[in-house]
Symmetry: C3
Subunit: 675 residues, 3 copies
C-alpha cells in the first residue's frame, strides 16, 4: 500500500454511502450537499451502475454531470470513492453485442432490464469494460475529490454458452496440460464421459441427470478466475494512470461464493464489503461479527471498508420483508463493525431511488425526507463517528487491527466442494457449518479470524476446521506443522474425505488429516433429519456420525447407541507440542460450546475481557499505538463490568465497576499499563 494512501489521510472514520446524483435533477444535488454536511458525511461512492448515464451510446461519453458532481464534492470536503460502472452494461450493449449476454444452464439468453446482464467471458464485454475504465481513469485519477477506486460492483456473474465454453477449455488446458490428466482427475470413465478432444468439453449446462462433481468444481474455479481476471485488468488500468490511488472492490458477504475471496483480496489495496444482516435481534448481531471478521481477515488483519450497510436492519429476501431497525440499533451495530476493524460506515444508498427495482431499499435519506427517524439516526451516527476520529489510524506496523488467538479455516474450495449433488447427506454444507462454529465462539466471548491453509498460522493458538470436504496434501501438511509446533486444531466430520479435486481418499475418510488426528474413519453414518444421537458425556448430536477407529488418538466422548455404541464421537490426539481434536458428528448447541470450551482451554485461549460471552461482546481494536476496548451489551440484562480507561462515547474516565445496560456500549481507550 502506498504511503500517501488517501484513506490514511486526516479524514478520520469514513461516513457516507452510495450516491447516484444521475437519478435526480441537479436542484436536488444542493439539497444533498446540505444534508450531507448536516450528517457529517465525508465520503460518497459515485458511479456504481452509472454506465448508461456516462456512456449513453457506444463510445459517446457524457462526463459533464460527473465532472460537476465531483467538483461539488471536492468543494464541500467530501471524498469520493469512484466506481467503474461495469456491473451493468446499458441496453445499447445488448443490441450491439447479443453474443455477450449471459446464458443460463438451460440455454436461456438473459437480456437487460435488471442488472449484471453480461457474460464475463465475452470479449466484447471485456473490451467495453476496459475502454470505459480507461476513460474514467484518464479523466478522474487526479481529481481532488478522489480517495479510492471502486472497481465494478459485487462481482458474481456466472454464465454458460459458447463464449464461456471456449474460455473454460483454455482454462482446463492450462490446468491439466493434456486430456489424459483431465480424464483421470474427473474419473470420466464413470458414466462414459471420456473426452477425446478439448472441444467435447462444455460448461456444465443442462444434462439428463447428476453432473460430474469434479467437472462442476473446476467450472466454479474457472468462473472465479474469470471474475478475478475482470478485476485484475481494471486494476491494471487505473494503476497505470496513478498507482497511488488505492483500489477496492466490494465483496457481497457472506452468502456469495462466486469467486475466491482470498484471491480477490490479493488484487486490491483494501477489501470492502457489503453486509446485510437478515435476522433481527442477537442473531443479526452475530451476523455483524461474522461478516466483520471475514472482511478483516481477507484484508490481512488491516482496517477494512464497510462499503454498504443498510439503515433498515434487515433486507430479508427469504422472508420477503424489509424490516425496520429498532431505534438505536443502527449505531449499536455500527460500533460492532468498528470494533472489528471497519474504517467507518458507508451505506447503500444516500437517497432512496424514486422508482426502479430497489425502490424500497434502505437509504440514508428516505422517501419521507430529512424529517424522519432514519435521517435523524444518520445524523446522530455521523456525529458519533466524527467524534471517534482517533480510531481511524491503522495499528502500528506489523499488527492487525484486532489481535486474535483463534482462527477458522475458510476457503473457496471447501465451500464449493459441498455445493454439489449426491453427497452422502444434503446437510453437509460449508457455510452453515462455519457459521455455527463462529457463533458458538462469539457466545463464549472468543473473537476469531479466518485463515486459509496456505498461510502462516504461527500467530494463532487454535485453528478450527468446521467444514473441509476437499483438502489437499499440502493443506494437511500446513496444519500438521502448525500443531507439531505447538498449535491446536479441531477438525469436523466429513472433512478431508476427498482431495482438492473431489477424488475420494482411499483407506480412511479423514484422508490427508488421518495421521494428524490419529484416527481412521471407516464409514459414514448420515442420519435422518429427525434422529438425535446420544453421547457418553450426556450431550446430544445429530445429522451425521462416523465409524472412527483410534490410531493414537484418545476418545473424549463416545456414541452410546446401536450400531455405533462405544465408538468414538469426539477424539483428541497429541502431536508434537499441540493437539488435534476430531468431531465425528454434529454436536448440539450446548455440546458444541462445551467441547469448544475444553479445546480453548487446551489451547490456552480466553476471552478478551472477563465479562465477555453470552451477549457481552468485548473486542479490542488497535489504532496507532493505542488500544481500545469495545464493550457491547447484546443481552437483556444490565451487567457490571470492571473497567479502567477513557470512554470515547461519553468522553469520560472509567475507574473500575461500570454499569452496562441492555443495548449499551463503551469504547474505552486503555491505559498503557494494561496493554
Amino acid at each position: 500500500m502506498p504511503t500517501d494512501h488517501p484513506l490514511r489521510s486526516d479524514d478520520g472514520l469514513v461516513f457516507g454511502g452510495d450516491y447516484n446524483p444521475e437519478q435526480w435533477p441537479e436542484s436536488v444535488w444542493l439539497e444533498d450537499v446540505r444534508l450531507m454536511r448536516e450528517a457529517h458525511v465525508n465520503r460518497v461512492t459515485i458511479g456504481v451502475f452509472s454506465w448508461s448515464s456516462i456512456e449513453p451510446r457506444e463510445g459517446q461519453y457524457e462526463f459533464g454531470w460527473l465532472d460537476r458532481i465531483l467538483d461539488l464534492m471536492a468543494e464541500n470536503g467530501i471524498g469520493v470513492v469512484l466506481a467503474t460502472p461495469t456491473a451493468s452494461p446499458p441496453p445499447w450493449f445488448s443490441l450491439a453485442h447479443p453474443e455477450a449476454l449471459p446464458v443460463t444452464a438451460d440455454g436461456v439468453r438473459l437480456i437487460h432490464g435488471s442488472r449484471d446482464t453480461y457474460n464475463p467471458a465475452a470479449p466484447a464485454y471485456r473490451a467495453a469494460a476496459r475502454r470505459l475504465t480507461s476513460a474514467m481513469a484518464e479523466r478522474y485519477s487526479f481529481h481532488p475529490a478522489l480517495r479510492m477506486w471502486h472497481l465494478h460492483n459485487e462481482y458474481g456473474t456466472v454464465s454458460y454458452g459458447p463464449q464461456t465454453d471456449t474460455a473454460f477449455r483454455e482454462w482446463l488446458r492450462a490446468k491439466y496440460g493434456d486430456l489424459w490428466e483431465l480424464n483421470t482427475t474427473w474419473n470420466t470413465a464413470f458414466w462414459s464421459q471420456g473426452y477425446g478432444e478439448w472441444e467435447e468439453i462444455f460448461a456444465p449446462q443442462a444434462t439428463q441427470y447428476l453432473p460430474n462433481p469434479s467437472h462442476l468444481l473446476d467450472f466454479k474455479r474457472f468462473s472465479a478466475d474469470l471474475l478475478r481476471d475482470c478485476l485484475r485488468e481494471q486494476a491494471e488500468i487505473v494503476r497505470s494512470v496513478r498507482p497511488e490511488v488505492p483500489v477496492t472492490t466490494n465483496f457481497m458477504l457472506p452468502s456469495w461464493n462466486h469467486y475466491d475471496q482470498w484471491d480477490f483480496a490479493a488484487e486490491i489495496d483494501d477489501v470492502s464489503v457489503d453486509h446485510y444482516p437478515d435476522t433481527p435481534g442477537i442473531e443479526g448481531d452475530v451476523q455483524v461479527a461474522f461478516g466483520s471478521d471475514l472482511a478483516r481477515s481477507f484484508n490481512g488483519g488491516r482496517p477494512w471498508v464497510l462499503m454498504e450497510q443498510a439503515t433498515t436492519m434487515v433486507y430479508d429476501y427469504a422472508q420477503g420483508r424489509i424490516l425496520a431497525r429498532d431505534p438505536g440499533k443502527l449505531l449499536f451495530n455500527t460500533l460492532q463493525y468498528l470494533a472489528r476493524g471497519a474504517t467507518g460506515s458507508l451505506f447503500f444508498q444516500w437517497r432512496s431511488p424514486r422508482a426502479g427495482a430497489e425502490f424500497f431499499h434502505s437509504p440514508m435519506v428516505p422517501h419521507a425526507g430529512e424529517n424522519s427517524r432514519t435521517f435523524r439516526e444518520i445524523v446522530e451516527l455521523g456525529t458519533t463517528l466524527a467524534n471517534l476520529h482517533e480510531l481511524a489510524p491503522p495499528p502500528a506496523a506489523g499488527h492487525g487491527v484486532n489481535q486474535n488467538r483463534v482462527a477458522i479455516v475458510w476457503d473457496a474450495t471447501a465451500w464449493w466442494s459441498t455445493d454439489t449433488r449426491a453427497l452422502p447427506s444434503n446437510d453437509t454444507a460449508f457455510l452453515p457449518a462455519v457459521k455455527s462454529v463462529h457463533r458458538a465462539l462469539w457466545l463464549l466471548g472468543i473473537n476469531t479470524d479466518f485463515v486459509q491453509l496456505d498461510q502462516d498460522l504461527s500467530g494463532y493458538n487454535l485453528v478450527l476446521v468446521p467444514s473441509k470436504l476437499a483438502a489437499s496434501n499440502a493443506e494437511a501438511e500446513v496444519l500438521r506443522r502448525f500443531v507439531a509446533n505447538g498449535g491446536h486444531t479441531a477438525i469436523w466430520y466429513f472433512s478431508g474425505s476427498t482431495d482438492e479435486n473431489l477424488n475420494v481418499r482411499q483407506g480412511s475418510f479423514t484422508g490427508a488429516f488421518a495421521d494428524l488426528l490419529g484416527i481412521r474413519v471407516e464409514e459414514h453414518f448420515p442420519q435422518l433429519e429427525a434422529t438425535a444421537l446420544k453421547l457418553s458425556d450426556g450431550s446430544t448430536a445429530d445429522c451425521w456420525a462416523e465409524a472412527v477407529e483410534l490410531r493414537g488418538a484418545i476418545s473424549i466422548s463416545n456414541f452410546t447407541e446401536f450400531p455405533l455404541a462405544g465408538r468414538p464421537a469426539v477424539t483428541k490426539h497429541g502431536v508434537g507440542m499441540g493437539t488435534a481434536h476430531y468431531l465425528a458428528t454434529r454436536l448440539g448447541e450446548d455440546a458444541l460450546r462445551t467441547h469448544l470450551r475444553r479445546i480453548l482451554n487446551d489451547a490456552g485461549v480466553s476471552p478478551e475481557h472477563p465479562a465477555a460471552g453470552y451477549g457481552i461482546e468485548a473486542v479490542r481494536r488497535y489504532a496507532g499505538n493505542d488500544s481500545y476496548l469495545f464493550l457491547l451489551n447484546h443481552s437483556e440484562e444490565t451487567v457490571d463490568v470492571g473497567i479502567h480507561g477513557h470512554d470515547l462515547l461519553t468522553d469520560s474516565a472509567l475507574h473500575g465497576e461500570t454499569t452496562l445496560g441492555p443495548g449499551a456500549a463503551l469504547i474505552v481507550r486503555e491505559p498503557w499499563a494494561e496493554q
Copy 2:
C-alpha cells in the same frame, strides 16, 4: 343497450350452459334437447372452443353442423349465446403461423395441445380471428335462435417474443411520446437502464435479477390494452352486421388480472362472468357474494350474466380436488347469485366431455347420465328459476339491481402495483386485502359494490380503499371531493405510497391521500409473519405497521409496543361534511369488524334487514318496479325473522315472524309501503 335487447325478452331468468354438440354424434343431440326441455333450459352457449370444428383447415368453413344445431335450438325455443371460438386456434394455425404462437418469458415457444396457444400481438392471429368472426357474424346475426354474442372466452393470454416487443414499443411511444419521459418515469438511471432507442426496449422477459417495477407495470397495462383491442375489433365486426344483438365476453373472476375489467366492461353490452368457488362451507358462500358484487359493479349495477358455474361445488386446483356440492347447495348458491343481480344461471358445461383435458369437469348431464343426483338437481333448479320469472326484468330506469351504500375500490393498477418483487413486504397483495374487507362486511350483513376512483361516488355513504399502493393525484382528488361533500372513507396501510407509475411519493408514504387523511406516514414497519401487534383498544394486528404522525387527524387506536408505542394505528380525520379513516396496520378479524362497525356507524350505514349478519344474508334485489328481499341462512342455527310480503319460493304470504332453518332461503316480494 338497445331497447329490443333480446336478453330483455320474455325468456324470464336464463338457464342452461355451454353446449358443444360438435363433441357428440348427432344422435345425442336429440337426447340433449329432450333433457334440456325437461330441465327448463332456455339458453345455451355454443361455439366456445369450436374453431377446429368450424374451420378445420385455413379458410375452409364447416357451418353445416352449426346451422343444424342452431335450427334445432330455435325449433325448441332455446335461445343461443353464440361464441366466437377464437380462444383456441386449431393445430393448422400453429403450422401456418408459427410466429404467432405464444412465447414465455424464458423464450419457450408454446404449441397447441391445450387451449389459448396464440400471441394476441401477432398480426396473423388477429387477422384469422377477425376473418372467422366476420364469417360467423354474416351467417348467424339474424338467426332466430341468437340472443347474444359471446366474444372469445376468458381473455387472459400473455405472450413475450418479437411480435410482442414491437407492439409494446408502439404502446410505449403512444404513452410517453419520447424516451426522456419514459426514462424519467421508469427511473432508468437506476441500474443503468437508460434507453437510447425505442428498439432497446423489450417486454420484461427473463433477466438476471429483479426487474424494473414500472417497466413491469407498463407491460401489464400494455397486455391488458392488447386484449381489449382484440375484444374491441370483434365487437366492431359483429355490431357492424346487426348492432342490436348484445355483446358480452366472460370474465374469469376473481383471480385473473390480465386486463382491466372496467375497460373491458366499457366495450360490451353486458358483463358475464365465470365463477368457481374453491372452498366448501360458508367461505365458499362468501366467494359467491364477492364474485357477484364484482360482476354487477363491472356491469354498472345492471343485471349481469353468470356465464359459467359448476354443479360440483369446488374445482379446486390448489387442493387437487373436484369436490361434490352438498345436496341443495347448488340451488342455495344460485339464489345468492340471483340476489346479487344475476340474470339466471349458466353452467360449464351441458354434458361432460367423454375425453380431453377437462374430462372430469363438472357438467349438467354427468357421465353417469340423466339418472343422477346432478341431473335431478339441475331439473329442480331449472324448475325453480322458471317460477322466478318475475325477477327477470331490469330495475326501473336509473336504478341498480341492488342499491348499496358502501363501495370498495377495485382497480387494475392497484392490483398490478402489488404484483411485483422487492416491495417492503410480500404480504401486501391486493386481492387478499380486498377479499378480507369484503368478507368482514358480509359477516356484518353489509352489501357492497365495487368502484374505481374515476367515477361518480355520490351515491355512496362510504367508500373503502383496502389496497391501493399506486394512486394518482386525480384519484386522490375524487376521493377528497367525495368526503368533502359528506362521504366517508377508510384507507388501508401502504396505500398511496406511489403514484400511478410506481414512483414513490416523497415526504409521506400516504402520498396523494395525506391531506385527506390528515396524517403523515414517515416510515413503514413490515412485520415478520409470526409477529402479533397489540393496540391500545385491546385488539390485535399483524403483518405491517407504520410510523404515523397526526396532522389534523385524531388517533382512534394506538400501537402499544416498542418501537411504535403510543403512535397511531387507526386514525380519523374530519374533512368537510365527511370523515377519512386510516388503518396503518393489518387488523385481526375481530378488530377489523369492530373498526368497520364504527366507521359504518359514522357513515350511517346499516344492514339491509335487522336479522342480517353473521351468516344471515339479506339482499334486496330490484326488478321492474318491485323489490325482493332475499334472506338466506348460511349459519348452523335456526333463526326467526320478522318479515312481511310474498315468498316466491313457496308462493305464500308472510306476515311477521318466520322461521328460517340452516340452508333455507326466502325470496320475498315486498309490499309497496316498505320500499
Copy 3:
C-alpha cells in the same frame, strides 16, 4: 430358454456386482480378483457405461482392456454378465450427432456430462448402438467367461423434439389408421384440437395449460414401444451370433414407469432388476418383498436376477441421505430376495468410484478398503450364499419358484392413466394404491404375485385390482370369466371409470366392471385431505367416496355421514362360482386389513405358515424337486414357531418348536411329506 443356459450351470447362487475395471489402473485388477475370491464372488457385470472406454472415437474400438479383464475373470472362475454400454453415448457422439441429443418438453437440448444423453427415436443413436452391439457380440459371444448379455442399462429415456415427433406420428398412424379415428379417440373437438394433417401432431411438449390426457397416454405408450424397439434390436443382434446366451436388461423397480414391464419381459430370457429400498426398518423390508414379487412375476414365476442392490441400506434422494444399513441387515434383506425367487445377489458396484457423479454410492469394496465393516459383511454374505447352492436349480418343470394363490393387477396403462392432470383428485395415483394393498397382505402373511388382465388367471384364488382407472372391455371380460369360474376379486374405487384410451365410461363410473360388481357408481365424492369418513362397521376411510347404487350386489359396509349416509362403501356380488368385491373408498390401514381378511377367507386363502403375519415373513421357495420354507422375523419380538426340516443356515435339523429372535431367519428344507 435354451437347455444349456449358462445361468443354470453349476455356479450355484450368483454373487457379485457391477465391475468397472476401466475406472482403475490394471494394478488394482489383481487386488480386485483377490478380494473377489475372498468374498466368493462368482459373477460380475462388465461394460455398463463403458462406451467411451470401448469406442473412444467414432468407429475406433479399444477392446484390449476388455479382452484382458474377461480373460482374467475366466481364469479365476468368475462368470461375466456382459453389458452393451449403450445407455451413455460418449462426448464425441454429441458433437457428431447433435440432432440425436435428448430434448425436454420445454425445448431444452440436453448434452453429455451426466448419463443417458440420447434420444431413443434418433436414427443416429440407434445406428451407433446397433453397430457397437454387433462389434461386442462378434468379439465376445464365445468367450468362456460370458454367462449372460445385459443389454443397455435401466432403459428409461424420454425425449421430445423433431425426431421424436416423426416417430410418434408413425406410431399413431399405425395405431389409428386415419385421423378421424384419432380425433374421435382423443376427443379433439374439446378445446379445438381437431387434427387435419398428421404433421400437425407433436409430442406433448410445453403448451399453455392442461394437456389432452389421451394424447399424453398415447405418448407414454409410444415412448415405451420405442424403448422396447431399442431393446429388441439389440437382442436380435446378440442372438444372431450365439442364440443360447441368455439375454437380460435391468428394470429399475418399482418407481420407473417409462416402459411396459410385461412387454420388456417378453423380449428377454430373464428379467433382472435394480432395487434400492429408500426407508429404514420394516417399511424397507416391505419394499424388498414388493420389488421381488414384481420381478418374479415379470419373469413368469421363474427365478429372477437381482442385478443391483446396495450395501448401504438406503440411497434416499428424497431425504438427501445415503443411510448405512444396520449390521446384519444386508444378509437379512438378501435372504428376503432369495425367498422370493432371486438367483442370488449382485450389487452396484464392486468398488466405489474414486470420483464422478456417484462417488459416494454404495459399493462392495468401499473407499475405506477391505478393512471395513462393509467388506466384512460382503464376505459373510458371499460365504452364506455359497453354502446355499442347493437353492439355485429352477423349480421342477411347470412350477413357479413361489406358488401363490393371490395376485394383484399391475399394468402400464393403469399406471400411466393416473399420471395425468385434472383427475377428480390428485390422490388417485396407481403406485401408492398398489403398494398399500401389497403391504397390507404382507402384514397379513399373504404372499402375492402380480398379473395383468390378458393372461390366464386360473391358477389364482383371488385377483385384486387396487387401481385401474383405464380398463378395456377385454380386460373386464377376463376378470368376469375368472370369477364366473370360481375365482374371487376385489376392485377399488375409481377403477374402470374410463376405457383404455381415457374415454370416460358413460352411465356408471365402474364402466366395464359394472356387471361383474353388480353395482352402478353414479357420482364421485373426492374428499379434502383432512377429511375422515366413518363407515357403518366402525372403521374409517378417507380421500375418496362414491355414490354407489346396488344392482345385485349387497352392501358389506355403508357410509354413515351426510351426504352419503346409508350408501354402500364396500360391496360384494356373487357371480357364478366366485365373488366380486368393491371398495368405494380408501380404507384406513386397519379397515383395509379387516376387509382383506374377509375377502381372503371367502377366497379360501391362508398364509404359507401359521406363524406368518405381522412381521413374521414365511415364504416357500421351490428349487428342483424340493421346497424350502424361509422364515424371517421382522418384528421386535422373539417368537416360537413349530417347524420340521433342515435349516440350511445353521445346517441343523429342526423338530417342532423353534425360537426365532428379532432379525433371525431360517431356511428349512422341508421333508417330502409336508409338500
